[in-house]
């Protein structure tokens, strides 16, 4: 009898236990946090999520420089690295010699294919940032925080910036918004016009909502105005309809309302202490300690150095990756570098290097650019493996040159005297001679933009806008894969849609020519 009772008890326990155990299937982490836990734990949690959205343009991932937000290589794939690769290496001024699978095709503007991983990197980064923004907007619908409207506007700015690159680089994609967030059916393809209209509307909507000044690295009204101007100045390329007057309107607001002034010294803009600059409208932050990435300015600084010819310590680096050299299409614009008074002409390393780039894979062919460096402009600094120099994505000199360009292109309300003054402000700051009204031509503007803005992620868009990227009106060393340059077809105005995207969403179509 005793035994039977024991058995009954055991049985009941077993049954009870197995029922209560099924709750254990709802496992929860300890290190990672749910949204509720995060909000309860940190009053600034929402800004912390916002920080990662801003950071998505410079950092490779949330867990140090070896981590990656996307499946691609943490070192090669960061957003800013993609901007430099696709906007500067494919154009006339910068060439890379590593020959990594796909980089040669960028640097020689030839043989582009949908499987080139460098196109995928930027595409994936764009479509990492966009849904992350949508996610935060969706979260904010149910969460109360201070300045919610401003924060949402900032998120919308970050998303618009990502869309800007989609429009500029790939020309089409899906329109992923907070409205369709979470849908699993593949979204339809949106045309360049649709993406343009959406991004324009977003920027117009948030421009009045953004703060006039904000924590360093965060978007302000001027940031949105600058992006809107970029969208408008390239509108003819994107949509077929010129919008130079609209561009001028917003550039004018940046210049007159933004409170920015030109930095006294050009070099200070590209030094490790450039976070103090009065000229930078929107930086992508880098820090040797707390914002480490192989894809921020570290890529430009270390990539342009090589112990074979350059003392690393002079530029605050501990490693020289021996990758990038500029071509004569850039330094040729300054005349004789040895005699030029232009500060900007002094930022090429010529010792041990050849003027001509006979072989783009030979380190000593072409002059490396030392425009970006990791030394402080004021005071001493030490060499670090990662760069502390912020990337000036938008700065006042660019706005000045855009104003002049819009003026030349006949934007309503433009003041030609002001345009000339702006251009000369930029030039004389670098000790270049002032020009006269008659010099102010489109050809002069595209060259001045090269002298002033190369390696800052604008060059390819600029050349396309000036009709000089494709065809044979303008050739540069290694354009089209030959040493002296050759014509390339108009299809090169856009990059191929990565095959991984086409496979994942059957609604997407390839760009013509690929």
């Amino acid at each position: 009898m005793m035994k039977k009772n024991i058995l009954k008890i055991v049985f009941s326990l077993v049954l009870l236990f197995s029922v209560s155990c099924t709750d254990d299937l709802n496992t929860e982490p300890i290190v990672e946090l749910t949204l509720e836990e995060l909000l309860a734990q940190d009053p600034n949690a929402v800004e912390g999520i916002l920080s990662r959205l801003y950071g998505s343009f410079a950092l490779s991932g949330p867990d140090g420089p070896g981590s990656s937000d996307i499946s691609d290589d943490a070192g090669e794939s960061p957003f800013l690295r993609g901007i430099v690769n696709l906007q500067d290496f494919t154009a006339d001024a910068m060439k890379n010699r590593w020959g990594d699978n796909g980089l040669d095709q960028l640097t020689t503007t030839s043989d582009w294919t949908a499987d080139n991983k460098f196109f995928r990197y930027l595409y994936n980064r764009i479509f990492f940032t966009i849904p992350q923004c949508n996610n935060l907007i969706a979260i904010l619908e149910n969460v109360d925080v201070e300045n919610k409207e401003v924060i949402i506007s900032e998120v919308r700015f970050i998303r618009a910036l990502a869309y800007y690159y989609l429009i500029d680089v790939f020309g089409k994609g899906v329109l992923a918004t907070e409205g369709n967030f979470g849908e699993t059916e593949p979204l339809p393809e949106a045309s360049r016009q649709e993406l343009f209209d959406y991004t324009e509307a977003e920027l117009l909507a948030i421009e009045p909502l953004l703060l006039t000044s904000n924590t360093y690295g965060r978007a302000t009204r001027a940031t949105a105005q600058m992006l809107l101007s970029k969208l408008y100045i390239n509108a003819e390329v994107y949509t077929g309809t010129p919008r130079y007057t609209d561009a001028l309107t917003y550039i004018d607001r940046v210049i007159t309302d933004g409170g920015f002034t030109l930095a006294t010294d050009f070099v200070s803009l590209f030094s490790a202490d450039n976070d103090n600059s009065t000229e930078i409208i929107y930086p992508l932050i880098a820090d040797a300690d707390i914002s480490q990435s192989f894809g921020n300015t570290t890529y430009i600084v270390n990539g342009s150095l090589n112990t074979e010819t350059i003392p690393l310590a002079d530029f605050g680096a501990t490693e020289g990756w021996g990758g990038h050299r500029s071509s004569k299409a850039w330094y040729g614009l300054f005349g004789d570098l040895a005699t030029s008074t232009d500060v900007r002409a002094s930022l090429f390393w010529t010792e041990g290097h050849n003027f001509e780039m006979t072989d783009y894979r030979e380190w000593t062919d072409g002059y490396p650019s030392v425009k970006f460096r990791n030394t402080n402009f004021l005071g001493s600094s030490s060499s670090t493996s990662f760069s502390s120099t912020d990337f000036p994505l938008f700065r006042l000199a660019d706005a000045y040159l855009m104003y002049a360009e819009c003026a030349i292109r006949g934007a309503t309300g433009a003041n030609m005297d002001l345009a000339l003054q702006y251009v000369n402000n930029v030039r004389t700051r670098s000790n270049a001679n002032a020009i006269s009204q008659s010099d102010l031509t489109l050809q002069f503007m595209i060259d001045e933009r090269a002298r002033e803005l190369n390696l800052e992620g604008h060059r390819r868009s600029d050349l396309i806008r000036f009709g000089m990227f494709t065809g044979n009106t303008y050739i540069w060393p290694w354009k089209g894969g030959v040493v002296n340059g050759t014509s390339i077809p108009d299809s090169f105005k856009l990059f191929p849609i990565p095959s991984s995207a086409l496979q994942a969403n059957p609604n997407l179509t390839q760009n013509p020519g690929f």
């Binding site: 077993v14 236990f17 290190v31 912390g48 949330p62 867990d63 070192g75």
Partner: protein, 1033 residues
């Protein structure tokens, strides 16, 4: 109809109501060979369910027996004996051990069956078949021993990861390793920190046998984790007789046999003088600058001054003749004549063939198998403790440098700032980089100047209670509670002046370097896994009628896997270069934590009809914490039929057929293990805290929303299996099994692209696509000679497996981005793809163009589609995995001598010879900064081609680098001599063995047996010579 009536009558006999009062019989049952009493022998009155069992002393008594009844004495592993009752009331019986005793009973999961009653595809490998010699880890016992099981060690490390595949593995991203069950406890599927091979924590000497469950009808009972087969390990038990002891000792010496053929010093000097005449000043060292015992082999004069040339074989410098010792002691006895127990203790000390790669292990085990309440309650208590301490060497660094370091440099230099190890540095007055370290790191220095001790303490324990109900002995309740717990600690320490800690001090004047000795990394990990299983079994046997026997079981299983740990991470201070703690205020001790919970309800029935037709049905419902509540449960049925043809009248009297059985099986199994790729919480939205190096906006902590897939659910595999078991001619002259199978996997767990913009990252783990595997397994054993003095037996196996990707949800191919499949050049160079219509994980390559002399025309590929351009469309797929694998061996016994050998190999497969890519290229000789030289493969002996100048994209995807990976490896040759009764009751066996004496292959690299298919910085598998003794007393 008659059969039905008999069955009915048999069921009636369940309730023996009225029995004629008759006589009692008692007696003793002993083992004929040892004369030990046999406990637990079943004694049944034939044709009834009336019976009893012997006690611990082999004694029994049975009432209500009448003259003329037949008593059946049966015991697992012994031949049954029938005895007709006369008037004698004392019946003593001697049972004889059956010839195939160990084969007879097969553990199949939640129970065991007689081998002849198996319905699924199950192979048993018992101790007599085990590999011998240098065996450190259990899986090495069965390498090459059974068809369809491919075990590929990651290399020659003492605890190399084993990579076990049963019938290939059908998942693309999910885990493809089989489930391993030790004494009923399923092991963790995650890793123990610092332990590459979790199985090495089990002492192979404690293992009695393996059951390999291959098809779904066999594995389905393990449901959730059994899609890739199940490996059941049974450890040795105690005895019920006299105490027995075993002591074994082995000493082994291992050495590397195949080195990578690079240029020696003389050849290299000539090579540099011919091909890089401007760089001869980089050869050797400035004359007289180095102080070492090593002789200068020549002094050459260069534009940069006289240079002393040394002759260093860097591979010789890092390899050693490694000594291993292994001792085991075990005792089996019957404690207080009530508790059979076995206890063992083992010690293993293995030196790796790479200097400082050491491994030391102490194991202890205890097993108690008492019975209570008139044997109604059986308890099986098992505990195994393991204590491991090893030194993990920087393999990639040391093995890579040993190939690439300039052979004209000396090993040591008393003047060196690197603690006596030579390493090249630029001059203090170098204009660009004074004092900078250049060239490859001294590989011996890397090994000697860093220790990374890893200590693991682990316990694996379980207690199983098996209760046979008093009022219904056919019903049993079984509960098994298990614990697997490990505590691991890793600490990396650098010695003073360690080459790899030489860093710039940015705060001091240019060219100032400092060293950072001391701790560079620390990790502590606690794994605590708990298992709880309970089931009821009802088993009934009938003597007459169609229904011979049946059993039904139903149960529940609970498994919880917890991994909790933390790390100390360090960084070099950006201002001073000094190593400091990389402090993360939001996760101060860098904690990591993961949890997996699996629960299941299962049922199975085995039905034996007329002892000719065996039917098995099983069903299992599995829940996994990886999936959300809506998608959590998977349901997995299986069925099998076996037809014992031998029992049919038309074969019954055919003498040359001892056994002939046909098996048909079908079943579904599930796969949920994606932890290796996506972590433990893949379907819920979570935030992670940004590291201290990944902050952006000042003053706030960065938080990242992790990607997740709420729709994630079970991957399902349907397996069809058709097999035969056979045993022909006298003395099991020919026996074996042959199985053909097909496996279809749907809803594959694949980490792949999502429609852009529609998830929180570009890749997401998804249920995506299908694969199909086909193959066969053949096991064949021959017993051609069997007599008193001389026995010869041969065994062999052959298997074929091909896994094809059949659907990728509209995509043509997806890239394989697993660790270990990356080409060692640039970044993100992945060569393997899963492509529809191709074998999973095939290489996607260009066809190399060769000239008339067979030399590669460098940079030229075949324009396969003839469009005039070389594009990705010209690439084709080449299968990497071997489809045909085999193993064979023999054992010869002559009087007291035995000789055995075991061989295995593969007939196809490809391997990417990555050393040709990294060290077979002329342009890689002078470093990119122009300051140092690297050695390369020997261009003059033919291991690399002098035409190979430079690796320009996409040359790394040329099929030039792929080579045939077929091989035949001699696993071991063992010669033993047994001395019986050296003292009374003492048996002594002495043996000599050599493991991996040689391999036959056409592969030009070191070793074609490579799990990932990419041969780079491979830790060579040594040849090992062993001498051992084994004493039973």
């Amino acid at each position: 109809m008659k059969n039905f009536r008999n069955t009915f009558l048999s069921i009636l006999l369940l309730f023996p109501l009225v029995i004629f009062a008759q006589m009692s019989i008692k007696g003793k049952v002993i083992d004929k060979t040892t004369q030990d009493p046999l406990p637990g022998v079943s004694i049944v009155v034939k044709g009834t369910s009336h019976g009893t069992e012997t006690d611990f002393n082999g004694l029994y008594s049975i009432n209500n027996v009448k003259s003329g009844d037949v008593l059946v004495f049966s015991f697992i592993g012994f031949n049954s004996l029938e005895f007709t009752v006369t008037s004698d009331t004392d019946i003593n019986v001697e049972l004889e051990e059956s010839a195939e005793s160990l084969d007879e009973i097969v553990v199949i999961g939640y129970g065991s069956v007689k081998k002849e009653d198996l319905t699924g595809s199950v192979d048993v490998i018992s101790s007599k078949d085990f590999n011998q010699g240098a065996v450190i880890s259990p899986e090495q016992l069965l390498q090459g021993k059974t068809a369809g099981v491919r075990i590929t060690s990651a290399g020659g490390q003492p605890d190399a990861a084993p990579n076990i595949r049963i019938r290939g593995g059908s998942s693309l991203t999910g885990n493809n390793s089989p489930l391993i069950v030790i004494d009923g406890i399923p092991l963790d599927n995650g890793g123990i920190s610092g332990v590459k091979n979790p199985l090495s924590l089990i002492n192979p000497n404690d293992i009695e046998s393996f059951s390999v469950l291959k098809d779904a009808s066999a594995t389905a009972i393990y449901g959730s984790r059994a899609s890739n087969g199940v490996l059941i390990i049974t450890t040795k038990k105690g005895t019920s007789g006299d105490a027995k002891f075993n002591f074994s000792a082995r000493v082994s010496v291992s050495e590397v046999t195949d080195q990578i053929e690079v240029m020696d010093s003389d050849t290299y000097v000539g090579f540099i003088q011919e091909f890089f005449p401007d760089d001869t000043g980089l050869l050797g060292v400035p004359a007289g600058s180095v102080s070492t015992n090593q002789a200068v082999s020549q002094t050459i004069s260069t534009p940069q001054g006289d240079r002393d040339i040394y002759n260093t074989d860097w591979q010789d410098a890092i390899y050693r003749a490694a000594v291993t010792t292994d001792y085991n002691f075990s005792a089996r006895a019957n404690l207080m004549e009530k508790i059979p127990f076995r206890a063992s203790i083992g010690y293993n000390n293995t030196e790796g063939i790479v200097q400082t790669s050491d491994y030391e292990r102490v194991t202890a085990s205890l097993r108690l198998t008492p019975k209570f309440f008139d044997d109604h309650l059986r308890i099986d208590f098992n505990a195994k403790g393991t204590f491991v301490e090893k030194n993990e060497v920087d393999e990639g660094g040391a093995l890579g440098s040993a190939v690439s370091m300039d052979p004209t440099k000396p090993v040591f230099d008393d003047n060196s700032i690197f603690g006596g190890f030579y390493n090249q540095v630029l001059a203090p007055d170098d204009p660009l980089n004074p004092n900078a370290k250049v060239g490859a790191n001294n590989p011996l220095g890397l090994l000697e100047q860093r220790t990374r001790p890893q200590k693991v303490n682990r316990i694996l324990a379980n207690i199983e209670l098996d209760y046979k109900f008093h009022f219904l002995p056919e019903l049993r309740a079984v509960t098994n509670i298990g614990l697997e717990a490990s505590r691991a600690k890793t600490e990396e320490v650098f010695s003073n002046n360690a080459i790899s800690t030489y860093v710039l001090d940015p705060s001091a004047s240019p060219g100032t370097y400092i060293f950072n000795p001391g701790v560079g990394f620390r990790e502590r990990q606690h794994i605590t896994n708990t298992t709880w299983e309970s089931y009821l079994v009802y088993r009934k046997e009938y003597d007459t009628g169609l229904l011979n026997s049946f059993d039904v079981q139903a149960g529940y299983s609970y498994q919880n896997f917890k991994n909790d740990g933390n790390k100390d991470e360090f960084k070099n201070d950006t201002d001073t270069g000094v190593r400091v703690v990389n402090f993360d205020p939001l996760n101060p001790n860098n904690r990591f934590f993961s949890l997996l919970n699996l629960q299941s309800f299962f049922g199975r029935t085995n039905i034996n009809l007329s002892n000719k037709y065996l039917l098995t049905f099983s069903f299992r419902a599995d829940g996994s914490s990886f999936f959300t509540e809506e998608n959590r449960w998977g349901y997995f049925p299986a069925a099998a039929l076996a037809w014992k043809l031998k029992e049919e009248t038309f074969l019954k009297d055919v003498n040359f057929i001892n056994d002939f059985k046909v098996r048909v099986g079908w079943g579904e199994t599930g796969q949920q293990d994606v932890s290796g790729k996506v972590g433990f919480f893949p379907s819920i939205p979570l935030f992670e805290i940004g590291s201290p190096n990944s902050q952006f906006i000042e003053g706030v902590n960065l938080y990242n929303a992790k990607e997740f897939n709420p729709d994630l659910t079970w991957e399902k595999t349907t397996t069809y299996n058709l097999g035969v078991d056979f045993d022909f001619f006298k003395n099991n002259f020919v026996s074996g099994s042959f199985d053909i199978y097909k496996r279809e996997t749907t809803d594959l767990l694949v980490l792949t692209n999502v429609p852009p913009g529609q998830a929180l990252s570009d890749l997401l783990i998804q249920n995506f696509g299908e694969t199909e595997s086909k193959g066969f397994d053949l096991n064949l054993n021959l017993n051609p000679i069997e007599n008193e003095d001389f026995n010869l037996s041969l065994n062999g196996n052959l298997s074929y497996n091909f896994t094809e990707v059949t659907n990728l949800k509209g995509a043509d191919q997806i890239t394989v981005t697993d660790d270990g499949t990356r080409l060692p050049i640039g970044t993100g160079n992945f060569i393997f793809r899963h492509a529809v219509g191709e074998e999973a994980g095939s290489a996607w390559v260009f066809k190399q163009v060769y000239d008339v002399n067979g030399k590669p025309v460098w940079g030229s590929f075949v324009d396969r589609n003839g469009d005039g351009n070389i594009t990705d469309d010209d690439r084709y797929f080449k299968a990497i995995r071997p489809n045909w694998t085999f193993g064979f061996g023999f054992t010869i016994n002559y009087k007291n001598w035995d000789l055995s050998s075991s061989l295995r190999g593969q007939l196809d497969g490809q391997i990417y010879n990555a050393k040709r890519l990294t060290a077979g290229v002329i342009d890689n000789v002078v470093s990119q900064d122009g300051n140092s030289l690297d050695n390369t493969l020997n261009f003059f002996s033919g291991v690399a081609d002098i035409e190979v100048v430079d690796v320009v994209d996409p040359i790394q995807f040329s099929d030039y680098f792929l080579e045939n990976a077929s091989f035949l490896r001699v696993e071991n040759i063992v010669l033993g001599h047994t001395l019986k009764d050296v003292f009374k009751g003492t048996t002594l066996k002495i043996y000599g063995a050599v493991n991996n004496p040689f391999i036959i292959t056409n592969y030009s690299g070191q070793d074609p047996e490579n799990f990932n298919g990419i041969d780079n910085d491979f830790y060579p598998r040594p040849t090992t010579y062993n001498l051992g003794i084994n004493i039973d007393f």
